[in-house]
C-alpha cells in the first residue's frame, strides 16, 4: 500500500473485505440512505423516524471513521486514508449531522425520506472527495455530490424559487464540471497519470508546458464554482435564497469544506511545482497568483454587494463569496501553516453558516419570510434565537471571543508570513478592508433583531418537538462557535498535526 509511481497496471488483488473495511464509512452512509428511502416509500410521512435513522447512521459512520487505520492507500490514490482525510471525513459527517435536524424541522418538506436520502448520498460524495488523492475519483466525488445537491436545491416543488435555484445551480454546475473534466484531461495527457503525488513528482522534474497551465486554470474554474469565488459565484445568491433552507445550509457548509480540502490537496500536492508567486513585486505565473486574484475579487465584490442586500439569505450568499476569498488566502500562502489555516477557517465557517441558516429557518417558519423586516424584533419574540444569531453574525464578522476572530487571525498571519518580505501584504490589506466593510451589514442584521420594533406579527409558532430540535441544534452550533473561539487549540492543533 505504498505510492506507485507511473501508470503501471493497478494492483487489483485487494481483498474485498479489506476494501469494505477501509470504505466502511461510505458503505454505511449508502446503506442508511437506502434505508431512509425505503422508510419514506412505505408511506410513513412522519418526519421524525427517518431523521432518527439518519442521525444514528451518521453517528455510526463517524465512529467507524475514527477506527480506521492511520494510513492506507488503495488503487494508486483512489481511496487514501490518512489522518487529514479521516479528520475531514468526520467534519463532513458532523456537518451532515447538523443538517439533518434542519431538514426534520422544515415544515414544507413533503417527502422527508427522499430528502434525507439525497442528503446522505450527497454526504457520500463529500466522503469520496475528501478521501481521494486521484483526479478521476475526485471528479466522481464532485459529480455524486453535485447531482444530490441539484436535487436538494430544487426539492421544494411548491416554490418556484426553489425550482429556479435548482435549475441555475444545475446549469452553472454542469458547465463548471465540464471545465474541470477538460482540465483534468489535459493534466492527464501531459503527465500520464491521475494520481496527485505522481503528477507533482513528474512536474518537478521538467519544465512546465504551457498546455499544463491551461489544464490548471480549467481545473481551478470548477473548484472556484464549488466554493463560490467571484467571478464564478453567480449561482450563489439565487440558490442560497431559493433553495429549501437545509439544502442551502448543506451547500454552504459541507460542499464548501470538501471543496477546500480537495482544492488544497490538488494545488499543494499535485500542482506544487507550478506554484508561481503572488507577492506584489515579484509576481510569477502559476496557480497562486490566480487564486490570489480570485480571493481579492471575491472579498471586494462579495462584501460590497452584500451591503445592498435586504434579504438575509442573499446577504449570507454574498458574504459567503467574501468568505471564500478569505479562505483562499491560506492556500495562496501555501505550506503547512497556510493549509491548516484554510482548513480551520472553512470548518468554523461551515458550522457558523449552518447555525445561521437554522435561525433563518425558524424565523421563516414563524413569520413567513426571511427579509430584514421579518427579523425585526426577534430579540423580544425569541431572545434565545436572537442571541444565537448574534453569535453567528459576529463570528462571521470576525469579532472575539468567537471562532471567526481566531480563524481570521490564523489565516491572515499565515498569509502575512508567507511569500518572503511580506509580499502578500497587499492581499492581507484587502482582506482586512473587506472584513471592515462586512461589519456594517452583519450589524444591520443585528440591528433588525435587537433594535427595530416588532413589525411583522408572528404567523404561527412551530410545534413543540420541531421547535425543540431546531433550538437544540442552534444551541449546540452557537456553543461550538463560542468554544472554538475561546479554546481554538483543540481543532487547530488537530488540523495542524494531520496536515502532512
Amino acid at each position: 500500500m505504498s505510492v506507485r509511481p507511473g501508470p503501471q497496471p493497478l494492483n487489483l488483488f485487494v481483498s474485498y473485505l479489506d476494501l469494505l473495511k477501509l470504505a466502511s464509512p461510505e458503505a454505511i452512509i449508502v446503506l442508511i440512505a437506502l434505508a431512509v428511502l425505503t422508510i419514506g416509500l412505505t408511506g410513513d410521512r412522519s418526519r421524525t423516524f427517518p431523521g432518527i435513522v439518519a442521525v444514528v447512521g451518521i453517528v455510526i459512520a463517524i465512529w467507524t471513521t475514527m477506527r480506521l487505520p492511520q494510513h492506507a492507500n488503495l488503487f494508486g490514490g483512489m481511496l487514501v486514508i490518512s489522518p487529514l482525510n479521516s479528520l475531514f471525513k468526520i467534519v463532513c459527517l458532523a456537518l451532515a449531522l447538523a443538517t439533518v435536524p434542519l431538514a426534520v424541522s422544515e415544515k414544507s418538506m413533503r417527502n422527508p425520506g427522499e430528502y434525507l436520502a439525497m442528503l446522505l448520498l450527497g454526504t457520500v460524495g463529500l466522503l469520496l472527495l475528501v478521501g481521494s488523492e486521484e483526479l478521476l475519483m475526485i471528479f466522481i466525488g464532485l459529480e455524486v455530490l453535485g447531482l444530490s445537491l441539484y436535487v436538494m436545491a430544487a426539492f421544494d416543488k411548491t416554490d418556484a424559487r426553489s425550482a429556479e435555484a435548482g435549475l441555475k445551480y444545475f446549469l452553472f454546475g454542469s458547465t463548471a464540471s465540464a471545465f474541470t473534466l477538460f482540465g483534468i484531461s489535459l493534466v492527464y495527457g501531459i503527465s500520464g497519470t491521475t494520481a496527485l503525488n505522481v503528477i507533482g513528482l513528474k512536474l518537478a522534474m521538467g519544465s512546465i508546458p504551457p498546455l499544463f497551465a491551461v489544464g490548471i486554470v480549467m481545473t481551478l474554474i470548477g473548484f472556484a464554482f464549488k466554493i463560490a469565488a467571484a467571478p464564478f459565484h453567480l449561482w450563489a445568491p439565487d440558490v442560497y435564497q431559493g433553495a429549501p433552507i437545509p439544502s442551502a445550509a448543506f451547500i454552504a457548509s459541507g460542499s464548501k469544506v470538501a471543496a477546500f480540502v480537495v482544492l488544497g490537496k490538488i494545488v499543494l500536492v499535485g500542482f506544487a511545482p507550478a506554484h508561481g508567486n503572488a507577492a506584489w513585486h515579484s509576481m510569477l505565473p502559476g496557480w497562486s497568483p490566480i487564486l490570489a486574484a480570485l480571493a481579492a475579487l471575491s472579498i471586494l465584490l462579495g462584501n460590497f454587494v452584500a451591503l445592498a442586500q435586504t434579504n438575509v439569505r442573499r446577504l449570507l450568499a454574498y458574504s459567503a463569496v467574501a468568505h471564500a476569498g478569505y479562505t483562499l488566502l491560506g492556500l495562496v500562502a501555501g505550506g503547512r501553516e497556510g493549509f491548516s489555516a484554510t482548513l480551520f477557517y472553512t470548518t468554523i465557517y461551515a458550522l457558523t453558516l449552518i447555525g445561521a441558516f437554522a435561525v433563518v429557518g425558524i424565523v421563516k417558519r414563524e413569520t413567513g419570510g426571511d427579509d430584514f423586516q421579518n427579523f425585526a424584533g426577534l430579540a423580544s419574540r425569541s431572545p434565545f434565537s436572537a442571541a444565537c444569531m448574534s453569535v453567528f453574525m459576529l463570528s462571521l464578522a470576525g469579532l472575539p471571543p468567537l471562532a471567526g476572530f481566531f480563524g481570521k487571525f490564523y489565516l491572515f498571519s499565515a498569509a502575512f508570513r508567507a511569500g518572503g518580505n511580506h509580499g502578500l501584504l497587499w492581499l492581507v490589506v484587502v482582506a482586512l478592508f473587506g472584513s471592515f466593510v462586512s461589519l456594517y451589514y452583519y450589524l444591520n442584521v443585528l440591528k433588525a433583531i435587537f433594535v427595530d420594533k416588532n413589525a411583522s406579527e408572528t404567523r404561527h409558532s412551530s410545534p413543540g418537538t420541531h421547535r425543540f430540535v431546531a433550538n437544540a441544534t442552534i444551541a449546540v452550533l452557537a456553543a461550538s462557535v463560542v468554544l472554538l473561539g475561546v479554546l481554538p487549540d483543540a481543532l487547530a492543533e488537530a488540523i495542524a498535526k494531520s496536515v502532512p
Binding site: 459576529l394 469579532l399 472575539p400 471571543p401 476572530f405 481566531f406 487571525f409 490564523y410 491572515f412 498571519s413 502575512f416 508570513r417 511580506h422 492581507v428 490589506v429 482586512l432 478592508f433 472584513s435 471592515f436 461589519l439 456594517y440 450589524l443 443585528l446 440591528k447 435587537f450 433594535v451 481554538p488 487549540d489 487547530a492 492543533e493 495542524a496
Partner: protein
C-alpha cells in the same frame, strides 16, 4: 489578585442575564464595586512592583501559535484600572432608573467594563487585541438600543470607526507577531524590529489605536457617539473607552516600535495639537450641551496624545495622569448633562436650558457641574490642572512652539466651558426667553412657568446620583491636591519603557 477585576465583571455580566430583572442593577453595582475594591487593595499594597510590567497570571492558551493567557500589572495599567472602576460604578449609579430591557443594558455595560479591564491588564498581544475588539460590539448595542438623539447613526458610526481602527491594529499586531515571533509584550519590547518594518508598522498601529482616543481627523465618531449614547454609555465612552486607545498606543505601538515612534512622533504631535485647538473651537459653537462635552473630550484627549508624543518622562506620565483625570471629569460632565439635566428637562439645547433657571431647580446638579467645569478647565486644585501642567512641562522640553498653540487652545477650553456653564445653569432666564421660544417643544408660557416654580416641576436629584457624583468629585479633587499618589506609581513604569532609553 488584580486579575479578579476581569473575572468578577464578566461573572457579573452573566449573572445579570440569568437572574430576574429586579436584581440586574444591584448585581451590576456589586460586580463593579467588587472590582474597584480589588483595585484599591492592590493600589495600597506596598509589596506590588509597579515599576515593571510584572506578570500576574500566565497560562498557555493556544500553544500551537504561541499565545498565552498572560496578565501583567504596572503603575500605568493600575492607574487606568482605577479610573475604569470609578467610571463603572458611577455609570451604574447614574443608570439606576433604567427599567426597559434592564438586563440587557447592564449586561452590555459590564461587558464594556470587563473588556477594558482586560485590555489594561493584558501582557499578551493577542489577548490585548481580543479584549480590545471585544469592547466594540457591546458599545453598539448600548447606544443603538438605549440611546437618544440619532442613536442608530451614532452607534454605527462609532462602531465602524472602532472597527476601522481595529483593522489597522490587526495588521500591526500580525506584523509584530510575524517579525518578532512572539506575542509576549515584554519579550517583544526587547526585540529589535527592522527599521523598515517599524517605519510602516508604527503609524499603522498607533493610528489604529488613536482612532479610539479621538485623534484628529478621525475624531468625528466621538461627538456623535457621545450624544447618541445613553448617559452610562457616554460616561463609559469618555471615561474608559477613549483611554483604551491611548493606553494601547503607549503600551503596544510606542513600546514595541521605538524607532518608528521617533520617525513619526512629530507628525502625530501636530495632529494632537490641531485636535486640541480645533475641537475646542468647535465646542464653542455648539448648541447641544452633550456636543459641547463631546468635543471637549476630543480636546482633552488631544492633550493625552500630545503628552505621549513628547517622548519624555514628564510628557508621558502627564498623559497617563490626564487619562485618569479626563476619565473622571468626562464621566462627571456627561452624568450631569445626560441624567441630571436631560432626563428631567428632556432637552439639552443650551438656549432652552438658559430659560429654565436650573440653578434654583437643581442646586446639586449646578454644584456638580461647577466642580466638573472647573476641573475640566484646569483650575489648580483639580486633577485636570495637575495632569495638564505635567504634560505642558514635557511639551516645553520637546516642542516649545506647541506650548503657545496649546495655550491658546486652553483659553478656548475655558471659554466654551464657561459658556456652557452659564447657559445651562446661571442664565437669568429672562433675556433668552425669546430665543428659546424657537426651541422645539417648549412654548414661552411653559418656560416661564417652569422657571417660576422649577423646583416643583423637576424631580429632585436622587441618592444614587448624588453618590455617583460625589465619588467622581472626590476623585478629581483628591488627585488634584495630591497628584503624587498617582504620579509616584506612574513614573517608574514610564521610565522603564524602552523609547525613553
Amino acid at each position: 489578585m488584580i486579575a479578579w477585576t476581569i473575572y468578577l465583571t464578566f461573572a457579573g455580566a452573566v449573572i445579570v442575564l440569568l437572574l430576574p430583572r429586579a436584581f440586574a442593577r444591584w448585581i451590576a453595582l456589586l460586580a463593579a464595586t467588587a472590582g474597584f475594591v480589588v483595585t484599591l487593595v492592590t493600589f495600597f499594597r506596598p509589596d506590588v512592583d509597579l515599576g515593571h510590567f510584572t506578570t500576574v497570571v500566565r497560562v498557555p492558551w493556544i500553544p500551537a501559535l504561541g499565545m498565552n493567557y498572560h496578565l501583567a500589572l504596572d503603575g500605568i495599567s493600575l492607574t487606568l484600572i482605577l479610573v475604569t472602576g470609578l467610571a463603572a460604578i458611577s455609570a451604574i449609579l447614574f443608570s439606576w432608573d433604567v427599567s426597559e430591557r434592564a438586563k440587557e443594558f447592564f449586561f452590555w455595560l459590564l461587558l464594556v467594563v470587563g473588556g477594558s479591564y482586560g485590555v489594561f491588564l493584558s501582557a499578551d498581544l493577542f489577548l490585548l487585541f481580543l479584549f480590545y475588539e471585544l469592547v466594540i460590539v457591546p458599545k453598539y448595542f448600548l447606544i443603538a438600543i438605549f440611546g437618544s438623539t440619532n442613536k442608530e447613526y451614532g452607534a454605527m458610526k462609532l462602531t465602524l470607526y472602532s472597527f476601522f481602527g481595529g483593522a489597522l491594529v490587526f495588521l500591526g499586531v500580525i506584523a509584530a507577531y510575524v517579525a518578532g515571533g512572539s506575542f509576549d509584550i515584554n519579550q517583544l519590547s526587547q526585540f529589535q524590529f527592522p527599521s523598515q518594518l517599524q517605519w510602516w508598522a508604527f503609524p499603522v498601529l498607533f493610528l489604529g489605536f488613536a482612532v479610539l482616543a479621538g485623534i484628529w481627523p478621525l475624531h468625528t465618531w466621538a461627538p456623535t457617539g457621545h450624544v447618541a449614547a445613553p448617559t452610562a454609555g457616554s460616561m463609559l465612552l469618555a471615561g474608559i473607552v477613549m483611554k483604551l486607545g491611548a493606553y494601547a498606543a503607549l503600551r503596544v505601538a510606542m513600546n514595541l516600535f521605538p524607532e518608528g515612534f521617533r520617525m513619526w512622533r512629530t507628525t502625530f504631535a501636530v495632529l494632537a495639537v490641531i485636535g486640541i485647538v480645533y475641537a475646542a473651537a468647535v465646542a464653542l459653537r455648539q448648541r447641544d450641551l452633550k456636543f459641547v462635552i463631546g468635543y471637549s473630550s476630543v480636546s482633552h484627549m488631544g492633550f493625552v496624545l500630545l503628552g505621549l508624543t513628547t517622548a519624555n518622562v514628564f510628557g508621558v506620565s502627564g498623559a497617563v495622569l490626564q487619562m485618569f483625570s479626563h476619565g473622571v471629569i468626562g464621566a462627571l460632565l456627561f452624568a450631569v448633562a445626560g441624567t441630571m439635566i436631560y432626563r428631567r428637562t428632556h432637552t439639552r439645547d443650551l438656549d432652552a436650558l438658559a430659560a429654565m433657571n436650573l440653578r434654583r431647580a437643581l442646586p446639586f446638579a449646578a454644584f456638580t457641574f461647577v466642580v466638573a467645569s472647573a476641573a475640566s478647565m484646569g483650575i489648580p486644585g483639580f486633577s485636570g490642572f495637575a495632569a495638564e501642567i505635567t504634560i505642558l512641562i514635557g511639551v516645553w522640553k520637546a516642542y516649545p512652539a506647541a506650548v503657545w498653540v496649546v495655550g491658546a487652545g486652553m483659553v478656548l477650553v475655558a471659554a466654551f466651558t464657561l459658556r456652557a456653564l452659564k447657559r445651562s445653569f446661571f442664565d437669568d432666564g429672562l433675556g433668552s426667553a425669546a430665543l428659546s421660544a424657537a426651541a422645539p417643544g417648549l412654548s414661552a408660557g411653559k418656560i416661564s412657568e417652569s422657571s417660576r416654580d422649577g423646583r416643583a416641576a423637576l424631580a429632585p436629584i436622587t441618592v444614587p446620583e448624588k453618590v455617583g457624583a460625589a465619588l467622581l468629585m472626590f476623585a478629581t479633587v483628591a488627585v488634584g491636591f495630591y497628584p503624587k499618589i498617582l504620579l509616584d506609581r506612574i513614573q517608574p513604569a514610564v521610565e522603564a519603557m524602552r523609547f525613553l532609553r
